[in-house]
Symmetry: C2
Subunit: 106 residues, 2 copies
């Protein structure tokens, strides 16, 4: 492979990466919206926000279905970050909701 052929191939791979990233981004935002819906329902029904058992199920689901090349540990670390970011958003929404419902009583 010549240097020019390599540079051409890399350019094509980068177009693929950019397209994949936009699909990942869309799914991540879609997942966040569902997490927000879950938060709303839990608050309305006064159910506990944090459920460790459910988090285990999420990790089980992805671990069982991972065919690689990402290792199980790599997948776990990526999803830990995803879940952590969405938990932060839930927490912010909850604070906002509490502040609104107590009408600035804090």
């Amino acid at each position: 492979m010549t240097r020019e052929e390599a540079i051409q191939a890399l350019e094509e791979y980068r177009v693929s990466i950019d397209a994949l990233d936009l699909r990942l981004l869309a799914l991540l935002n879609e997942r966040t919206r569902v997490v927000e819906d879950i938060g709303r329902v839990k608050r309305a029904a006064k159910l506990p926000i944090y459920e460790p058992r459910r988090e285990e199920q999420v990790f089980e689901n992805i671990t069982i279905h991972n065919g690689g090349p990402l290792t199980p540990d790599a997948v776990k670390r990526i999803f830990e970050r995803i879940i952590d970011e969405m938990r932060t958003i839930q927490r912010i929404r909850m604070q906002t909701s509490v502040e609104t419902s107590t009408d600035g009583d804090s």
Copy 2:
């Protein structure tokens, strides 16, 4: 909303989350395969593996296209983790490749 209705709604949201996670997982593994291809081409053409400018482009691409609800910072942290895991895989592949080409000379 009764408690029963809430539990039913949550169950449906969880089915959605599990399905979204499998789509995310598939895209993450697809992205990893492209990163592996990029590594192979770079090694064959003796091009530098690490390109900070390209990494900036990746972040620009997702930041420009992010419509939320994830914040730009949250998106950046998730993609930092994704890129970091794939960089680790590149490094492992490179070591393996060097070891193979030097025929156990280390």
